[in-house]
């Protein structure tokens, strides 16, 4: 209530992401492996950029690196032709062969969601490893030891939005997400309520973004309560929105 600025919270755990939420924007930028079902002629260069990063126009190794995940037939001879040149001018015209049916790409979530259609004309989505059977059994064994930050820092949000793609494993994925959270929640709550004035980097290192948000809320509650106990609650302090303005450095310099 004493906040100066209310951020738009993430809606990723609900039915839809929130348009204005920064957390959701960051989350939906993560990549998802996808197979194209229809040919997309002349769009190959666009997707190439998406899947492999910057394109350059010199050096043979980079020419090769630009074609890593395309598994269409007929592409092998073109790769060979490119590498035999000294100077490779990479893809000035969008190559037709990249739009063939069945090519594998990695698209960000927002793009995959936009292109996904119930009649599955354009894309079919493959689940990333961590939402598949193998990792699900790891989570059900013991959820506390997994480093969720490494597994994609937006594990819960991304997983919840993945359910939109109508995979047959949806029920299992949602159960697994829920059980993982239940398993880890107690430790997060405990550590956030009892770590006062300490360095908490060891505690938050293995948490994903949503859990870190929870941890910070817990810490803030703890700090506010301690403030109130010390009687500092009625002291007027500078708002956190203006603390970094240059002119405010003056009171700091006096001390």
């Amino acid at each position: 209530m004493s906040e100066a600025y209310f951020r738009v919270e993430s809606g990723a755990l609900g039915p839809e992401e929130n348009f204005l939420s920064l957390d959701d924007i960051l989350m939906s930028h993560e990549k998802l492996p996808v197979r194209t079902e229809t040919a997309m002629p002349r769009l190959g260069a666009f997707f190439l950029e998406r899947s492999a990063g910057a394109e350059t126009d010199n050096a043979v190794p980079q020419g090769l690196a630009l074609l890593p995940r395309v598994e269409c037939s007929g592409v092998i001879w073109l790769t060979a032709a490119l590498t035999s040149q000294v100077q490779v001018i990479v893809i000035p015209q969008p190559p037709m062969w990249l739009g063939l049916q069945g090519s594998k790409l990695e698209l960000p979530l927002w793009l995959a969601k936009g292109l996904f259609d119930n009649k599955r004309r354009i894309l079919s989505v493959e689940l990333p490893k961590i939402y598949q059977e193998g990792w699900r059994t790891v989570f059900s064994a013991d959820a506390n030891v997994v480093d969720l930050h490494k597994m994609g820092p937006h594990f819960y949000g991304f997983g919840s939005q993945l359910l939109h793609f109508d995979s047959p494993e949806n029920a299992d994925i949602s159960q697994s997400l829920l059980q993982t959270f239940i398993g880890r929640f107690r430790r997060i709550m405990d550590s956030s309520q009892n770590a006062y004035n300490e360095d908490t980097s060891a505690l938050v290192a293995r948490l994903d973004e949503m859990e870190r948000g929870l941890f910070q809320t817990g810490q803030k509650g703890l700090n506010d309560f301690q403030c109130w106990e010390k009687g500092q609650a009625s002291q007027i302090t500078a708002s956190n929105l203006v603390q970094n303005y240059k002119k405010r450095k003056f009171p700091d310099m006096e001390d």
Binding site: M1, F6, V8, G11, N18, F19, L20, S21
Partner: protein, 223 residues
């Protein structure tokens, strides 16, 4: 607490209500409205009569205190009580303003489509505030970002962009009047709808959507 208001006027009915409220009841109603507003996920009905009555009471008390003799203890206790009531009132209004700011397109839409007989969830000042806020936000977004976009992307639909209040969130409540046959919808696909009765004095944790009309009528109290 409010039994100490011995030198306050006896007639406490400041508004145009037929019901005569003692100051104690008025403060209790204010606190109930405050707690309901704090824990409900959406903006509740506005209670202009309570707000006006409380403001009048506070003014009376201030006048009386000014006229009273300099007996330190009594005066300072009454002053403390006035500060507390003032805090509750301003916290209540602040909570409502925060919700208006958070959900402004939905609040304005609800006000526009409200049928005639239903009480409004916005007081006239709050309505003016919400409208100004909407205009200011639209102007701000246009000047900062939208006017630099290509012409077919220059609109943002605030009604869809701003998140709706989440009526499915769970709330704690205490039952004040016995209720029967409340239909509870299932959380998961395996459960089915079932019907519960709410006993007086019992406390529950339930989805807000199920009991929203009961909060409005005062039959349950959010805690």
């Amino acid at each position: 607490m409010t039994e100490e208001l011995d030198f306050l006027g006896q007639d406490s009915d400041g508004g145009s209500e037929e019901v005569v409220l003692t100051p104690a009841e008025l403060i209790e109603r204010l606190e109930q409205a405050w707690m309901n507003e704090k824990f409900a996920p959406e903006l509740l009905e506005s209670k202009p009569e309570i707000v006006e009555c409380v403001m009048e009471q506070l003014e009376h008390m201030e006048e009386n205190l000014r006229r009273a003799k300099r007996e330190d203890l009594k005066v300072s206790i009454h002053q403390m009580e006035m500060e507390r009531i003032r805090y509750v009132l301003s916290s209540y209004l602040r909570c409502r303003l925060m919700k208006i700011e958070k959900f402004f397109p939905h609040v304005l839409e609800k006000e526009k489509t409200r049928p005639e007989g239903e009480p409004s969830s916005l007081s006239p000042e709050e309505l003016a505030f919400a409208r100004e806020f909407m205009v200011n936000t639209e102007t701000y977004l246009k000047n900062v970002a939208l006017k630099h976009m290509p012409p077919n992307l220059q609109k943002v639909d605030l009604f869809r962009a701003v998140p709706k209040p989440d009526l499915d969130s769970y709330v704690f409540l205490r039952v004040r009047e016995r209720q029967e046959n409340i239909l509870v919808e299932p959380d998961t696909d395996e459960q089915r709808d079932y019907v519960i009765d709410l006993e007086k004095g019992s406390q529950h944790l339930i989805r807000y959507k199920t009991i929203a009309p009961l909060v409005a009528s005062g039959a349950v109290q959010l805690i």
